[in-house]
């Protein structure tokens, strides 16, 4: 490999890794909803879109930095998610119908409404938040003058990545150390047993949907400095989120993190070596392959390793 080739490969890996960290946050939101509620939330990307637009409005009209807007977009999305679960999804869980997939179709309906409302309010233009540090980057040659290759690390990407890690760590702490978090995990594992142990399962479900929405809303705020928005952006992130969820294993937080990183690296590599337009195809090939060869996702591999020892 020549120096240039090495440079391209390393640069691709770096950007893939950073992208993967952000993907992980999107995936975690979906995986905890799926773990607790056992439904696939196909409005997930649209909730992220709502988060992105909140950050956009706050930046454009109130000059609030997108990273700061997490503290506003998170709670708003939390309430929105709780409302959706309580007034729309919960009633459907109880209704008797021929097709059990009704809830999935319902979330599609919710997503359609959200995306269309965004089109009406903001028009279909591509919007972005031109932050002052948008193009700042660190270069390897600045630190190591004699370096044979040149690598760069974008500032907003790195900041988003660090924020994503911090939120993930906070979530891990919440799920493992607090009472509420333990109740959520109990509900995910066996909701009847949780009910018998005195966990308010109904409330946990509403809360989890809110939490998942808040996480993906935060992810939206992290994406906005490095990306652009348009009303239909949600669909693509919904697809990314469920690919990560399947890849990581349903309801597994660790799996979602690993899944997000794998997907980010894979997409980055496909975009560099095969072509930008093909990156989404690679994503779905991973998805179908995982469903067939390791249906339990990365989480099941981790578990079987542990049992083997």
């Amino acid at each position: 490999m020549t120096a240039v080739q090495t440079e391209v490969l390393l640069q691709t890996l770096i950007s893939g890794f950073l992208l993967g960290g952000l993907y992980a946050l999107i995936g975690i939101g979906m995986t905890i909803i799926m773990g607790v509620m056992k439904i696939i939330n196909l409005a997930h990307g649209e909730l992220m879109m709502v988060g992105m637009y909140i950050a956009y409005v706050l930046y454009t009209y109130f000059h609030i930095d997108p990273y700061l807007s997490i503290v506003i977009a998170g709670p708003v999305l939390f309430l929105l998610g709780m409302g959706l679960q309580k007034y729309l999804i919960n009633p459907v869980v109880k209704v008797d119908s021929i097709l059990p997939e009704n809830q999935v179709i319902l979330t599609v309906g919710i997503g359609m409404v959200l995306a269309n409302l965004a089109t009406i309010i903001f028009k279909s233009d591509y919007l972005q938040t031109p932050v002052s540090y948008g193009t700042t980057a660190w270069y390897l040659t600045d630190i190591w003058k004699a370096s044979p290759i040149e690598l760069s690390l974008s500032l907003p990407w790195s900041v988003s990545f660090v924020f994503s890690l911090m939120i993930t760590a906070g979530l891990w702490f919440f799920l493992t150390k607090t009472d509420m978090g333990k109740s959520i995990r109990a509900t995910a594992q066996d909701h009847d047993a949780a009910l018998l142990m005195g966990v308010n399962v109904e409330r946990m479900r509403v809360f989890t949907f809110g939490l998942g929405s808040a996480l993906v809303g935060a992810a939206g705020c992290l994406f906005i400095p490095i990306y652009y928005i348009y009303p239909d952006i949600g669909g693509q992130f919904t697809l990314i989120a469920f690919v990560i969820t399947i890849l990581g294993g349903l309801g597994s937080t660790v799996g979602a993190i690993i899944g997000g990183l794998i997907l980010g690296l894979f997409e980055s590599l496909t975009a560099t070596y095969i072509g930008m337009g093909w990156a989404p195809v690679g994503r779905f090939i991973i998805f179908v392959a995982v469903l067939i060869f390791i249906p339990g996702g990365v989480a099941s591999l981790l578990k079987s390793r542990k049992l083997g020892k």
Binding site: S97, I98, I105, L106, F242, I246, W278, V281
Partner: protein, 313 residues
């Protein structure tokens, strides 16, 4: 009476062009019939066999592109696409079935959804084969006026209706319903579930592909964003059946009438034109919460509710 009703209805529909409707109304009528064909096919796979597909646009698009590519690559009339699509789409469905049918419930739904998206991206990127985003334009339109198109799609609809009805009335139909109700129980009774699910998928895909091939010839223009559309094809196919009535014969037809007329009505109101997805979404949410089996399926329930309302007032 009930037994002959569908045939009378088809005969009456065949007489409709004699009313001398203008071409816009004929266009809507053709769309209604086309969507009821797609609805019937979705209903066969998802309503009766219980395998909910989010990717019927894949079959629709493959049918449409079969027809379009016969025209651009071989230079023969796009109408040859109708018979050709049966072969191509069925083979395609066999491959998809082999991959996806081992998955159950929501996983199957997600897998089909991603197949639809994969095909759209492939069609956009393989510019040499499909023409990419430029799409395929059929320059020589067969007929200007729409009556013949109407008769062709009506014949397709009649054939599909009879086919679905025969299949459901046969032993095959009972297998499908058994698989929908409980796949493990069906398996333990000696039903080869994989085989019958594959049959349901192939039949359903074949009918949808046929409608897709018709669409190419009727509209004269296709591109990947139109025929592989997630919201405008796959989701509408689901909505047609959900609104009309899951696992009923007349449900898809009722649903198609409502959806197409609603879409056209909303689009024609200037202020609401952009909001048609909102209306569809709200309609879908309302239907799922209040009439989970659709208008036809929950007709007794609706009658009861209306009756109560009348008595109260």
């Amino acid at each position: 009476m009930n037994k002959y009703f569908p045939y009378i209805a088809i005969a009456l529909l065949a007489l409709v062009p004699l009313l001398g409707l203008n071409s816009y109304l004929m266009h809507i009528l053709i769309l209604v019939v086309m969507w009821s064909v797609i609805g019937m096919s979705w209903n066969l796979l998802s309503g009766y066999c219980g395998q909910v597909s989010f990717g019927h646009a894949a079959f629709f698009g493959v049918g449409a592109y079969t027809s379009g590519m016969l025209y651009t690559k071989l230079g023969i009339s796009g109408w040859w696409g109708l018979p050709a699509s049966i072969v191509v789409v069925t083979l395609f469905a066999l491959v998809i079935g082999y991959i996806c049918l081992r998955l159950r419930g929501p996983y199957f739904a997600l897998a089909t959804l991603s197949i639809g998206v994969i095909l759209r991206i492939v069609a956009e990127n393989m510019v040499d084969v499909t023409g990419g985003d430029l799409g395929i334009m059929i320059r020589e339109r067969s007929w200007i006026e729409k009556t013949r198109y109407y008769y062709i799609i009506l014949a397709i609809a009649a054939l599909s209706f009879v086919l679905v009805k025969q299949v459901i009335a046969s032993k095959l139909g009972y297998y499908f319903v058994a698989i929908r109700e409980d796949q493990d129980a069906a398996e333990s009774l000696g039903i080869d579930t994989t085989l019958y699910k594959t049959i349901a998928l192939c039949l359903s895909a074949m009918i949808t592909g046929f409608a897709g091939a018709f669409y190419t010839n009727y509209m004269g223009y296709i591109d990947p964003k139109v025929v592989f559309a997630l919201h405008d094809i796959s989701i509408i196919a689901i909505m047609v059946v959900m609104v009309g009535g899951v696992a009923t014969f007349s449900g898809p037809i009722v649903g198609a009438v409502i959806m197409v007329v609603l879409a056209e009505a909303i689009r024609s109101i200037p202020m609401l034109g952009t909001a048609h997805h909102t209306f569809f979404g709200i309609l879908l949410i309302v239907i799922i919460i209040f009439l989970p089996n659709g208008i036809v399926g929950d007709f007794p329930k609706m009658k009861k509710l209306l009756g109560l309302a009348r008595r109260a007032s």
